[in-house]
Symmetry: C2
Subunit: 211 residues, 2 copies
């Protein structure tokens, strides 16, 4: 059934949102849903939903709707969530702490296995169940625990060096919150998250909304 | 020159990134740049850049390239950043603190004017130069200071109520970090930010990258 090669990037970008909504429906015990109902819940058109979800084929049936759990699992597979990811966070400032405290990452298949910082005042203290580890232990830790994803939550000035260090340790994906776009060696994937981009999009929407 | 009605949503979504890059170029004293150079810097194709920026017309000249400052200012206008925004943050937990400490928002035209919380232990303490204000003072504060944007950084369970309260106070745009999609009254714009969506996209990219 999985056929991700043919799925466009625009559809892929919408998948996490479908995945979240379908997960909530599963939790509420909903077993099937029509594209019309899903469309009302998600505030997108029913035709967009049908078009997107038809990429995976076989889940929607006329007069029945979508099988919520099957679709949820299939999207999870396409996103590679079924394999599970081991994740570390580098940087235990306010943002690192906020991310380490966020329980829903684990539900999506991202298991936090370690939090690192270089500040002696922070090292050894806890964020929930996680002790803050010394960044000097990063090499030994990754050899032993083999995380495949790292969240970078260090200041802008340190981000490039940290990203390179993580890349050389075999981390396959980086989520970068350091407010600067980082380039990484071939073979490593990076998502640069810019919180101010959402503010700018919001500004555009305010400016252009119907009065 | 401004002609935003005809610009597609996909182009709009890319504008914040252009705006950030052009801002950095301005700061470095660069006055003009070819689409080829900008394309290398931004890791998108030169033809994509030409196509996107041609929407605004008149900034690219054969053999000259783009006038960096003029293009930066024009994109700022399209995004509504030139008007300036007054912003408040509701919720002074780790995420609220991280956002309040982020200096670059102001550079993009978003001036933080207040931070609120309902926790007596936090109220009165400072995040940098900002005192944490009692959420009870929200009504009086907004009447006096007229913020137009609010960042919601409260727990999921409180987010809906906070959003509604802000909407009734005349806030025009909400940036919601509470990990739940919120619907707001007509006339208020909301951007729901889901940090786990970026992780899911990263997972997809790791799974599908060329080995």
């Amino acid at each position: 059934m999985e056929n991700s090669k043919k799925i466009s990037f625009e559809v892929i970008k919408r998948l996490p949102r479908y995945y979240r909504y379908l997960g909530e429906l599963c939790d509420s015990g909903v077993t099937r849903i029509s594209s019309k109902e899903l469309s009302e819940k998600m505030s997108v058109t029913a035709s967009q939903i049908r078009q997107d979800l038809n990429c995976f084929g076989g889940f929607g049936q006329q007069g029945y709707g979508y099988n919520v759990e099957a679709l949820y699992n299939e999207i999870g597979k396409i996103l590679g969530l079924n394999r599970g990811h081991k994740m570390i966070i580098v940087g235990a400032g306010n943002l690192g702490r906020a991310l380490a405290s966020y329980k829903s990452f684990e539900r999506r298949g991202f298991k936090l296995v370690g939090v690192f910082d270089n500040d002696p005042k922070k090292i050894g203290s806890y964020i929930g169940e996680y002790p803050i580890l010394d960044i000097k232990a990063l090499e030994d830790f990754t050899k032993e625990n083999k995380p495949d994803i790292a969240i970078i939550a260090v200041p802008k000035t340190e981000a490039g060096e940290v990203a390179l260090r993580l890349s050389h340790l075999g981390i396959r994906g980086l989520l970068n919150f350091s407010y600067t776009d980082i380039k990484v060696p071939e073979g490593v994937e990076i998502e640069n998250v810019h919180l101010s981009d959402s503010l700018m999009t919001l500004s555009y929407r305010i400016k252009n909304k119907k009065q």
